[in-house]
Symmetry: C2
Subunit: 208 residues, 2 copies
DNA sequence: ACCTGAACACCGTTCAAGT
DNA sequence: ACCTGAACACCGTTCAAGT
């Protein structure tokens, strides 16, 4: 007869490679509980291991979260590389849509990737690298669009602009700031913002 | 002789209007410790009051944070209304600069305003209203720029675009994602992104 | 009406001890 | 080498009790 059966009881000693198991459990917990209430203890319990076992694989909570975020940036980079579901629309639209879809499908992960949890303190090298990979993918797309070399100031500025607006849109959408018609699809958000930029910068170019 | 002097000892019973004192202390703690480690207990201790006193003025931690964020949105709205320090530059640049400066001067508050802490659960009516006030101010500026009425679809789309990009830029800057030359001023970020949009949408308009 | 103290169920993290 | 359990210093929150 079990003792107390805390949802995921532990009756044996140890398992094999705990590190990835912890990461998977953290990812699952993240999606269902949000970035704030993701506790190391809850992750450990979900795996069926003692509350302190994680410290033999990750320095602390921040490092586990860092690996999780790094995983997110890698997924984002490959989502950008694939650019599914945009048909044969304009490359800028296709890339924006791919980015936005990733964010909306993984809201908690996305919040973690850009949230205050990781902004403080030293950054995991793996995370920094994965983030660069994401941004690099974005720059490559924009370089192709501008028919310029990656690394030119034009591409860098355009990438900054592009990343800013699509990240901002994703962030606002996830946060629930944007009140849209109930069944608003991802395409609606992106297309509406793109159209908004036309209005905005047409007005910016005509003299006062 | 004091007992243990925990930095801010409490020797008397109660004070006057605790609510604003707690809010001020929370604001101060927020700036120096970040949005995550802002604990109700630390706030109470800073004011010199018992750890549970706050519950007679705020339902819980989330509500206090909500009031703090609402305060932030009100400040943002008036920063947008004032638009100081942009000289007589283009109205879009002036507004963007005002927004961006607010975010960079109050990074922790800004992270709280758009962070995951508030996204979950019910939202404080005061917070919702303050946020609408901020967004309304933005829409008014854009309506003036487009010489259209606030509430037209053009203005709404353009406001969505404008808010997205400037929020995205602020968010990326605060998060430390953007690696800029050491002494990069607020103007640099904004101007560079604005220039980036020109490259981006010029390329978008010429045919393939 | 407002504040306190004890208490409960949680946290992250350290450390000696077990296997 | 890897994992556990006890322990410490923290949390948010509830509740009976004090003023």
């Amino acid at each position: 007869m079990a003792k107390k059966s805390p949802t995921h009881a532990r009756d044996t000693y140890h398992v094999g490679n705990l590190a990835p198991l912890l990461l998977d459990a953290a990812r699952a917990l993240l999606d269902q509980a949000g970035p704030n209430r993701l506790s190391l203890r809850a992750v450990s319990e979900r795996v069926g291991v003692s509350p302190t076992a994680a410290y033999h694989h990750y320095a602390n909570r921040a490092e586990l979260l860092g690996h999780l975020a790094a995983q997110g940036f890698r997924e984002l980079a490959s989502a950008l590389a694939a650019r599914d579901g945009a048909g044969d629309s304009h490359p800028l639209r296709a890339a924006s849509l791919a980015y936005f879809r990733f964010a909306r499908r993984n809201p908690a992960l996305y919040q973690l990737m850009f949230g205050p949890e990781l902004a403080a303190g030293e950054m995991l090298p793996e995370l920094r690298q994965a983030r660069e990979e994401s941004f690099g993918q974005l720059k490559r797309i924009i370089a192709e669009l501008l028919r310029l070399d990656v690394g030119t100031p034009e591409v860098r500025s355009a990438a900054l602009a592009g990343w800013s607006w699509v990240h901002g849109l994703a962030s606002l959408a996830i946060h629930g700031v944007l009140q849209f018609p109930a069944g608003a699809s991802d395409d609606h958000f992106v297309d509406r913002a793109l159209q908004g930029f036309e209005y905005l910068f047409q007005a910016g170019q005509q003299p006062d």
